[in-house]
């Protein structure tokens, strides 16, 4: 029904409509009022003239009426002056007196009304406006007709009425326009708490459930609505917290019994059995850790000025996964620029993302091959393996929680990559996957949107003495070089 969804626009639109209508009707109404006032004034002056004439009429003892106008009045009403005229008629329609020659009545009317009658007539090219007013003279009633030449009637009122539009009417338009502007600013002021509340409401999400809308400054009409929204937010937050805390608590509480179990397993004399049980416990430990990660990351946001160096994160990840790789007979290679690659992000969380991707790559790369972690200046991290690659049809699924390609054979819970996805979302970054020929797969974590301007000043290169050259051809052969 409304053209606009914005309340301000809606109000302004309706206001403009109202003002346009007012700006048309107000001058018209004023004009009409002015006219009727002018007419009233005209009628009053006619009546006064009639009364003036009546004052100089008197009844003789025989019943006849005489009129003795003083000379100045006589001149005023004379035909020579031409602006005013009078005649006096009796009930029998005889003209008793007249300022016109030949004793003709000013108006030829049949009716002898009990009240004043206002008339208009044309005499030659002159329009006469006048009245026929019954007056008592002695015991007789006479009808005094007075008339005024319209061309020469009271000039002031006439001018006001005639020139109302051209002189005065236009001023209503700027007045109404400035009223409109004032009103718009009044609306904006009155609605400003609402604007503020909408801005705050926009921030509410799974990461920020503690936001409440301000009630104090709200207009009283809107207060109940805001109050209700706040109550709903309260319940929502409680729900979020319960869920978050439950996952965190559950994971937490599982760790101590798992530790006891592990410690007990360590005392089993049968070393083979102990090793197998330890492996199972390690798997459970990993799932518990990942559940904790998920619970924690649910509420995670990147602080605006937090800076993480992708280069040193990747060095840490390489150091972290290297012993595992060596244990399984696989290699880790790090390719990184000499200078830091600072991005807006949380180091610990990005570390987990890169670690998860690297661990995933190590799981799928065959023994004797290399997993390459590389950092690019533009703010990306790639992890390349020599595994079987990921089919196009599976690429969306691998980031879902608890998804595993081979449910029976796999060791993980299928949480690692879903954690990576969440971390990348929190950093407004993306993940791309591409397969390599003849074998392998590259995961690229993209932090380009978060890239910070490079550090100024010298930064000591902690790990790499010399820049590494990118291998020209992909090498998935078994590698045990000396070059670090």
């Amino acid at each position: 029904m409304f053209l606009f969804t914005s309340i301000t626009r809606r109000i302004i639109f309706l206001h403009v409509v109202a003002i346009s209508i007012t700006s048309v009707f107000m001058p018209v109404a004023l004009y009409v009022l002015l006219r009727s006032t002018a007419e009233d004034l005209q009628h009053r002056s006619l009546r006064e003239n009639a009364e003036l004439i009546t004052r100089y009429m008197s009844q003789a003892p025989d019943g006849s009426i005489t009129l003795n106008l003083p000379p100045d009045l006589d001149t005023l009403f004379s035909e020579a002056y031409g602006r005013y005229a009078y005649s006096v008629l009796d009930a029998a329609d005889h003209t008793l007196f007249s300022s016109l020659h030949g004793r003709t009545p000013v108006f030829n009317t049949d009716a002898r009304l009990a009240g004043p009658e206002y008339l208009e007539s044309k005499r030659g090219d002159v329009t006469l406006s006048g009245a026929s007013i019954p007056m008592k003279v002695g015991d007789r009633t006479v009808w005094v007709q007075v008339a005024q030449d319209m061309e020469h009637r009271d000039v002031l009122i006439d001018d006001i009425v005639r020139e109302f539009f051209s002189r005065v009417g236009w001023i209503t338009i700027p007045i109404l326009l400035s009223l409109l502007i004032i009103d718009v600013s009044i609306f904006r002021r009155a609605l400003s708490p609402l604007f503020k509340a909408s801005e705050m409401a926009e921030k509410i999400g799974p990461e920020r459930t503690d936001v409440r809308l301000p009630v104090e400054a709200m207009p009283s009409e809107i207060k109940p609505l805001v109050h209700t929204i706040n109550q709903a937010l309260e319940r929502l937050e409680r729900g979020f917290l319960v869920q978050r805390d439950f996952t965190a608590d559950a994971a937490h509480e599982l760790r101590t019994p798992l530790s006891i179990l592990q410690a007990r397993v360590d005392t089993i004399p049968d070393k083979e059995l102990a090793r197998e049980l330890s492996r199972d416990i390690a798997r459970m430990k990993r799932i518990v850790s990942q559940l904790l990660d998920i619970a924690e990351l649910e509420a995670f946001t990147v602080a605006p000025h937090e800076v993480a160096d992708l280069r040193s994160i990747c060095v840490e990840v390489a150091e972290f996964v290297a012993p595992l790789a060596v244990r399984d007979g696989k290699n880790i290679l790090l390719e990184a620029p000499e200078m830091p690659v600072p991005v807006n992000g949380n180091s610990e969380v990005i570390f987990r993302a890169v670690r998860n991707v690297a661990e995933n790559a190590l799981k799928h790369t065959p023994a004797g091959t290399t997993v390459t972690i590389s950092v690019q200046d533009k703010g990306t991290v790639s992890v390349e393996d020599c595994g079987p690659g990921i089919a196009l049809s599976e690429r969306a699924q691998i980031f879902q929680r608890f998804w595993r390609k081979n449910r029976s054979g796999s060791t993980g819970a299928g949480l690692g990559l879903s954690i990576v996805k969440r971390i990348m979302e929190a950093h407004r970054g993306g993940i791309t996957i591409s397969n390599l020929r003849p074998a392998g797969c590259v995961f690229t974590l993209n932090f380009e949107a978060n890239l910070c301007p490079p550090f100024t000043g010298m930064v000591r290169n902690e790990t790499l003495g010399h820049p590494l050259l990118m291998a020209a051809a992909k090498d998935c052969s078994v590698n045990r070089g000396d070059r670090a």
């Binding site: 101590t256 006891i260 007990r264 360590d266 430990k285 150091e319 290679l333 790499l464 003495g465 070059r483």
Partner: protein, 223 residues
């Protein structure tokens, strides 16, 4: 070698003391932060294993108090929480290492040994891996119990690798160790030394191998 275990879960505490005993560590155990601080004030331990979730106070308080007393005792933190900032907070408070529950006793022992292998600590005098034994005081390497002759620089490289065995030692650290900060080092000097050391160890029948982590550094493990 005496350790202090600060752990409030009685069952876990009992099992850990037993397992540590089997690995050659005598451990005393206390269950509260207050007890830990009072025992640490009166007894000298080689290292402490500190659980963060204690009933009376946070384990980090114990750690901070200890460091405020200028006590340099190696401390390994045990925790059931490993949130984004927990590891950093723990290490900043002065922990030497950090282990998340649950952990295998082997892992705990390995970490303890690594802490104690640091220069100035008890195990720092003799570094052992596979059939290698390196006496850091006499600067003598034994393989299978027989003394071997290596160059001083080879020994220096082997020492830092053994002190951090199971962990990657960055190439820069190895470089600084061999050449100090003054010398202008050729781009592949470290690689040459590592290659030579690896060959020497192989020739001498050592059951330890040096792995190259390209772009990062080196890692020594039992072969």
């Amino acid at each position: 070698m005496r350790l202090l275990l600060v752990e409030d879960n009685a069952e876990l505490s009992k099992l850990l003391v037993k397992s540590l005993g089997a690995s050659g560590f005598d451990a005393d155990s206390v269950a509260t932060a207050a007890d830990a601080l009072s025992v640490l004030g009166s007894t000298h331990y080689a290292a402490a294993i500190l659980d963060l979730g204690l009933p009376d106070q946070d384990g980090l308080v114990v750690l901070r108090t200890l460091r405020a007393r200028h006590n340099t005792l190696p401390v390994l933190i045990l925790t059931a929480r490993d949130g984004v900032n927990d590891r950093v907070t723990g290490l900043r408070a002065g922990a030497d290492d950090y282990l998340v529950k649950p952990f295998a006793i082997e892992e705990l022992v390995a970490r303890l040994e690594a802490l104690l292998r640091r220069p100035g600590q008890l195990l720092g005098r003799s570094l052992e891996l596979g059939n290698l034994a390196f006496d850091t005081i006499g600067r003598q390497l034994f393989i299978g119990g027989r003394p071997q002759i290596l160059s001083a620089r080879e020994l220096a490289v082997l020492e830092i690798l053994l002190r951090r065995s199971g962990h990657v030692v960055s190439k820069r650290v190895v470089e600084d160790q061999i050449f100090g900060l003054s010398a202008d080092v050729g781009s592949n000097a470290v690689e040459v030394y590592i290659h030579r050391l690896r060959k020497t160890l192989q020739d001498l029948g050592a059951t330890a191998a040096i792995h190259t982590i390209r772009g990062v550094g080196y890692l020594i493990t039992e072969a």
